[in-house]
């Protein structure tokens, strides 16, 4: 049974997502009071699922959980919070129109004797909490006006306000810039000093080593090991995570870029609220060059992608591919020149309920003459099958049948089909919007290899990414989007993560 010193112990947890995805396979793990415990593992290793099991968000099939010596099984997060366990999710779940204090008290507001919200007392309570934990927040600011890092603090404070003693943070650094991460870590260390227990999920090894006391590695639903942070190295953790040695080296060979393939001229996009979403974007991508757009999410990346793909008409300015002005053309015409890998496979990149084959042939069904019979009236489904087999072979897709629904493929294999489809269009320009988002290390390596290969073939590549490690691994040039403006345009070998981070955060090279 649970040892006394363990605050929380999860024993032999098995979770199968219906119908038969084994997400957690006999995982046992324990957390001690007052420690920072990191959970690391690739995407799909089961980190988040394990924590959701503890938190009562996801029911589990086998095993048991002990908390403070008592067997528990939370049916919903409310019960976990009442018991003192709180979780901050990857997506921030606040009401943007509400102020900081309103968001914090929401759900357990102080009330007067008539049951009305006691605004003064609420402000005072929130103010005290901010003081107590030194969070540097303005309680009266509206959440939509504050930075992502500050919103995260609000999420944490919201739990502390509910007197939670165990904090679970799911990938808290994923949305932060390099400069904000140490600040978060300092706050977490202070929380540990005041007796809180912190469990944090991450796949970034440096952070894990810098912050935590103990580290548990999960791989493919199984626990691999729990190690003391002081007694391990990045290399060892990576090997535990992936199951083999991982190279952290760039294999990008120097290459002289060719002519300009993609170009924007004074691109502006103003949305309905008449705020500048894109302001005078001047961007050039040459043949054989990878240009990365760095930036905190929500600084105009979405609008830029939509303008290039033709989902939104820019307010002014022009977009050229291969000297053709595509600013006003139909999407199908653009697709003769642009290959596009979107960030959200299920929303923009595929139809999850359609067959693999039907997803593989999209766009080709209009542009590739071999698909077309009877002047475009009929589709050549025999050729569609041959074509799908080609993608499956060339891009090493693992699937049960090309007629099975797309959703039955793993994320990595879905991305391979999408990448294969877009690469086989053989277009001079590629727009990659976070091409490795949500993939496991093996698939990420594969996608990176493919991107470098097409760079070698002399294609022009514009890549939008939130991952600076990926950007420095692949890009020849890095531009930074800050509040809809391009604030930096630097060759990747003449800059560093810190400099790009400063641009992302402040829009300037030197912070005031």
């Amino acid at each position: 049974m649970a040892a006394i010193e363990e605050l929380i112990s999860l024993n032999n947890i098995v979770k199968v997502y219906p119908p038969n995805v084994l997400a957690l396979d006999d995982v046992s793990i324990s957390f001690r009071e007052g420690e920072i415990h990191a959970l690391v593992g690739e995407n799909g290793a089961g980190k988040s699922t394990l924590m959701k099991v503890l938190y009562g968000l996801v029911p589990f099939n086998q095993g048991n959980i002990f908390y403070r010596g008592r067997r528990v099984r939370f049916q919903e997060p409310g019960e976990a919070i009442a018991a003192g366990i709180g979780m901050v999710h990857q997506e921030i779940l606040l009401i943007p129109e509400f102020t900081v204090w309103e968001n914090i008290v929401l759900g357990s507001e102080p009330v007067d004797q008539w049951g009305r919200l006691d605004e003064e007392r609420a402000r005072q309570l929130v103010g005290e909490k901010i003081q107590e934990f030194q969070f540097h927040l303005n309680p009266s600011a509206r959440v939509e006006d504050i930075s992502v890092a500050a919103r995260q603090k609000v999420e944490i404070l919201k739990l502390l306000y509910r007197r939670v003693s165990v904090l679970i943070l799911d990938e808290p650094t994923a949305v932060l810039t390099p400069q904000e991460i140490p600040l978060l870590f300092a706050e977490l260390s202070r929380l540990r000093a005041s007796g809180h227990t912190i469990i944090f999920i991450s796949h970034r090894l440096e952070e894990v080593l810098a912050l935590s006391d103990r580290i548990t590695v999960l791989r493919k639903g199984k626990k691999v090991a729990t190690v003391e942070a002081g007694e391990t190295t990045r290399q060892e953790l990576a090997r535990l995570m992936v199951g083999r040695d991982v190279l952290f080296l760039s294999r990008r060979k120097p290459q002289t870029p060719g002519k300009v393939v993609f170009k924007t001229e004074n691109l502006n996009f103003v949305n309905n609220q008449s705020r500048h979403q894109l302001h005078n974007i001047q961007l050039k991508v040459h043949a054989g060059e990878i240009v990365a757009v760095a930036g905190v999410e929500g600084n105009g990346q979405f609008e830029l992608v939509n303008a290039i793909m033709g989902l939104n008409q820019p307010t002014s300015g022009k977009i050229f591919v291969d000297t053709t002005d595509i600013t006003q053309t139909e999407i199908l015409e653009r697709r003769r020149l642009i290959s596009f890998v979107p960030q959200d496979r299920g929303k923009m990149g595929a139809s999850l309920s359609a067959m693999v084959m039907e997803n593989a042939m999209m766009t080709h069904h209009r542009l590739n003459p071999r698909f077309i019979l009877w002047k475009g009236l009929l589709l050549n489904f025999n050729y569609a099958q041959i074509f799908t087999d080609q993608i499956v072979d060339r891009f090493k897709v693992i699937l049960s049948s090309k007629f099975s629904p797309f959703r039955s493929l793993s994320g990595g294999n879905q991305q391979k089909v999408i990448l294969g489809r877009e690469l086989l269009l053989d277009n001079p320009f590629l727009l990659l919007d976070q091409p490795t988002r949500g993939l496991d290390v093996g698939s990420i390596e594969y996608v990176h290899e493919q991107i470098l290969r097409i760079r070698q073939e002399g294609k022009a590549i514009l890549m939008i990414s939130a991952d600076l490690e990926e950007i420095f691994l692949l890009a020849d040039r890095i531009v930074v989007l800050y509040r809809g403006e391009l604030v930096a345009d630097l060759p990747s070998d003449k800059t560093n993560v810190e400099e790009i981070g400063r641009y992302m955060l402040t829009g300037k090279a030197i912070p005031e």
Binding site: D26, N61, Q62, M309, R335, M348, A350, M362, H365, R366
Partner: protein, 344 residues
């Protein structure tokens, strides 16, 4: 496929069971009632032919709704499109007279044209003013209802008749029974086969289906989503119009008051039960026709009111639609449990 069949059989069986309980509660004999129901819809001489003929408007309007829903278009204008199709056939049959070999195809085209025109009006409103086809097709149903009523009580009224109806259309436009079977059955089957082919083999059909599943993906893939929307409206309108044409040509051979009955709404219901599958629409359409055709015979033989059929239909729909998702979830959960137990 197997799961869908289980789902359907389960739904029908449950409906019959609940119907039986209701009849017992009111002192009727359910076995005798069901015997007469199926006798008069399937096993008596020519009753099968009647069932098939009655299925024509159900299947065609159901097909219209299924194709629209599967393509992400909310065309709920089948009642209106059916009436306008019937009106166009009546007009063609009253003023034009050709030999049957030309007249019948001509009237079929008129019916489809009428339905497509009415649906096209809604498509136009969407394209021009961005009005949701959902509400516009519903409203156009009312207009079609009263417009056709006006047409048959005023300009097209048969002066010798006592109630609102047009004179009969020319005899060369009638669909006469061949043996016991009405040729409209063949036209229905051809429509189902044709639409299946369009949906599964045409380039446009592929785009329609993908748009119905994920329209943003289809748009980014280069599908002309707006143009496809108009095509789907026109095609599904034509199908509903064809249903109206078949009712006139195979049935009373004239437009009379209440001609559209409840065919089109039943068709929409069938599409929902069939989960917008084209072949499933055909099968459920035939099945609902068994209920509806048998009901009349049942009322003749037994004391059970034919309204019981409405109850049977409603229960069938509810059970099938409710159990569809639930069956999936339950089967998945059971599989997950089995997998989890294997770990120990």
């Amino acid at each position: 496929m197997i799961q869908k069949s289980i789902n359907g059989i389960l739904g029908i069986f449950t409906a019959l069971l609940i119907g039986a309980v209701m009849m017992l509660a009111q002192g009727f004999d359910p076995l005798a009632t069901y015997q007469s129901l199926f006798d008069f819809s399937l096993f008596r001489s020519s009753s099968l032919a009647t069932t098939l003929k009655n299925a024509v408007p159900l299947v065609l309007t159901g097909l219209s709704a299924s194709m629209a829903f599967a393509s992400g278009v909310i065309n709920l204008g089948q009642p209106g499109q059916l009436l306008i199709g019937a009106l166009f056939v009546t007009l063609g049959g009253l003023y034009i007279d050709l030999p049957p070999i030309l007249m019948i195809p001509f009237l079929v085209l008129m019916a489809m044209f009428g339905g497509a025109l009415w649906a096209g009006l809604a498509a136009l409103m969407r394209r021009a003013f961005n009005m949701s086809e959902f509400i516009v097709t519903l409203m156009l149903n009312m207009i079609a209802d009263f417009f056709t009523l006006w047409a048959i009580t005023n300009p097209l009224k048969d002066e010798s008749a006592f109630s609102a109806m047009t004179p009969p259309i020319t005899r060369s436009g009638w669909l006469h029974e061949i043996g016991a079977f009405n040729p409209s059955i063949l036209i229905m089957l051809a429509a189902v086969a044709g639409m299946w082919f369009v949906f599964n083999r045409w380039n446009a059909g592929y785009e329609w289906r993908i748009t119905g599943q994920n329209s943003l993906f289809a748009r980014l893939g280069g599908c002309k989503v707006d143009r496809n929307f108009v095509s789907i409206m026109l095609v599904t309108g034509a199908l509903a119009g064809l249903a109206g044409g078949m009712v006139v040509m195979a049935g009373p051979h004239r437009f009379l008051r209440g001609l559209g009955a409840n065919y089109a709404w039943d068709g929409v219901m069938i599409a929902i039960v069939a989960n917008s599958g084209l072949i499933a629409t055909l099968l459920y359409g035939l099945f609902f026709s068994i209920f509806q055709t048998g009901a009349l015979g049942m009322e003749l033989i037994t004391n059970v009111p034919s309204e019981i059929i409405v109850v049977l239909q409603a229960v069938t729909v509810l059970v099938i639609v409710a159990s569809r998702e639930y069956l999936n979830i339950t089967l998945d959960r059971l599989a997950a449990k089995r997998r989890a137990r294997e770990r120990f």
